[in-house]
């Protein structure tokens, strides 16, 4: 290809759409082959997917059978019928405005926490107010709202509770673990290293199993800890171990001079850590933290195995109904798009943060 174009004078082919095509899409023989393959794949799949998703899809029907009789595309009637079950799980139907507000509260809390203006101690009271408001809306029992026990929580609010609270409560624990791991006190260090390596050495699914199947047997007779709380604690413990390693990375990336300068000023350990080391280290690790939040958000779907009705399990429950059997793909596509929207915005936010830090570094 280059042989053909090498001697040719500058022409309309160097600019515009054709130029872009030549430079980017067909710049060499392997690239051209890959480009053609991608175009072929797109031609093969996109129209069929679009047809399934949109053109041949059915929005109004009473069941999968009726859907399939009308057209052979996606049966979105399932989502029309079951969207409240998927979004809010087993929460009492007439009270579902409350979890809806909770989702709004979560978005507000996350939004505030993402804004750099609030990156100071004012976040602590904001979170306390947020948590109290979320707990009040979910449980109720005050202000004329009926009490809803937490066995009935589910759907998107439950997924957000498990992942956001999991990360938020893991954070202080993770800081202590990371500091402990770099501590000069041998016992503290040993405990932290053991904890981190032990937790990181097992998959989340086995921790959840421990929390839900083994742990109750160890409790004294007659004592019970709520299933949701057990799962939440397991997730916090898991997230803390991973975050601790991320934070340790931040601590280690600080130049030794920072530690020595703080020591030279005569600052004690906690002053040095609190005023000099942590503020710098935590700033560095925010993008990887967002990354682990994305992972955590998706990992919470593992609570399916302990019978909690999070977004994923509620979606599964939606097509158990015999009238809607066979519409699993539609339910999965629906929850996948919800997961995608959340993860996409988190990842965009992480990118913008990194760009911001890069600018700050240059200055």
């Amino acid at each position: 290809m280059s042989a053909v174009t090498a001697g040719s004078p500058k022409s309309m082919f160097d600019s515009g759409v054709l130029g872009w095509l030549r430079n980017r899409v067909f710049s060499s023989v392997p690239n051209a082959i890959i480009s053609m393959l991608i175009v072929w794949l797109a031609v093969m799949t996109v129209p069929a997917a679009f047809d399934w998703l949109v053109t041949s899809s059915v929005v109004h029907a009473d069941g999968t059978r009726e859907c399939r009789a009308i057209d052979n595309g996606a049966c979105w009637a399932l989502i029309v019928e079951k969207h409240r079950l998927i979004l809010f799980g087993l929460y009492p139907y007439d009270e579902q405005w409350r979890p809806l507000i909770v989702v709004g509260l979560f978005l507000a809390l996350i939004g505030i926490s993402c804004s750099r203006r609030f990156w100071n101690l004012s976040l602590i009271p904001i979170w306390i107010v947020g948590i109290v408001a979320i707990a009040t809306m979910m449980w109720g029992g005050v202000l004329g709202m009926t009490f809803v026990p937490n066995e009935r929580w589910g759907g998107l609010p439950l997924t957000l509770i498990l992942s956001v609270f999991g990360m938020a409560f893991a954070f202080p624990l993770a800081i202590l673990l990371a500091l402990g791991r770099r501590s000069k006190l041998p016992v503290v260090k040993a405990i932290c290293v053991t904890y981190i390596e032990l937790i990181r050495g097992v998959p989340l699914i086995s921790l959840l199993f421990m929390a839900s199947v083994m742990f109750p047997l160890f409790l004294p007779d007659g004592m019970n800890i709520d299933k949701l709380l057990r799962a939440q604690i397991a997730i916090i413990m898991f997230a803390a171990a991973y975050q601790a390693e991320v934070i340790r990375g931040g601590l280690q990336s600080l130049p030794k001079g920072q530690y020595e300068a703080a020591d030279a000023l005569g600052l004690g350990y906690w002053q040095k850590t609190g005023f000099i080391i942590l503020p710098q280290a935590l700033r560095i690790v925010i993008p990887p933290m967002v990354n682990s939040l994305i992972a955590m958000f998706k990992d919470t779907s593992l609570v399916v195995i302990i019978g909690l009705y999070d977004l994923m399990n509620a979606a599964k429950a939606s097509f158990v109904d015999p009238a809607w059997r066979g519409a699993s793909m539609e339910a999965y596509v629906f929850v996948a798009s919800i997961y995608f929207v959340f993860c996409f915005f988190m990842s965009k936010y992480s990118q913008s943060l990194e760009a911001g830090f890069a600018r700050a570094e240059k200055r």
Binding site: T64, E81, L90, L217, D221, Y309
Partner: protein, 340 residues
Amino acid sequence: MKARILLAAAASVAVSFAAPAFAGATFDAVKARGSITCGVNSGVAGFSAPDSKGEWTGIDVDLCKAVAAALFGDASKVKYVGLTAQQRFTALQSGEIDVLSRNTTGTLTRDTSLGLNFVGVNFYDGQGFMVPKKLNVKSAKELGGATVCVQPGTTTELNLADYFRANKMDFKPVVIEKLEEVIAAFFSGRCDVYTTDASGLASTRATSAPNPDDYVILPELISKEPLGPMVRHGDDQWFDLVKWSLYAMIEAEENGIDSKNLDEMLKSTNPVVQRILGVNGDMGKALGVDNKWAYNIIKTVGNYGESYERNVGSGSKLKIPRNLNNLWTKGGLQYAWPVR
């Protein structure tokens, strides 16, 4: 850190003390708590699954409601806990739930070494075979050399192999993990036979077959799966209440009492009906509940037949025939001890 202290405070709300397992304790604890905690399957159509409004329905759920109706006169006083197969026994052993009503097969080891008691049978199931009608097969004994679609599982695959070996027949298994895929494989003709529990066969035929009349379920059942509720060892009074809540529903059907004619039946002169409905005798008192216990069950949940038809039988999409679950007077196995 403050937030964590707050969580701890909130957590203490969630930590509850249920009854330790000694005689009468579960019964008393449930009564004091004012609601029953019932372990159910987190999603099996007809047995226990949340409907579009997030309310639990199913034949196993009806049993939980029946116990609540007997004890409190109110079928809504139930807290449901969705459980996976791995969790179910621990949840009962540890006291997280008071009764396990989760399509669980009763076996000797579960009844003994797990420390649980099998109360009764609310659904007789068993592994069966479904074939296309055009194959003209009348009995499982004619299936030699067939291709069989089966899901890999603890016993389904094993029972299949045992049955064919015992009858000196060959078969080619097509093992597919996912339910939807194994069903699709069978209806597309990749195998001659599909095997799973009979209830599963009937519901698959009713909901997924291109034309349900083109398929037949063969009469042979090759395994016994008596499904029913379980309670912990150690509280016989609680065991009795769960058992008789189930029996009341069966006994009501046998004596022609249903949720519609219930109030007329109160005037019945039949002493059996009078005893069941608490018009005569102290049956409820013997159980430690109100004498109207069975009346309350039938009023809110209906008799066994009504519950069956509504959830898995002709009134549902599953359309599972009564067969073994018919009353003993109609050729089935459902046989309750007399209320007297």
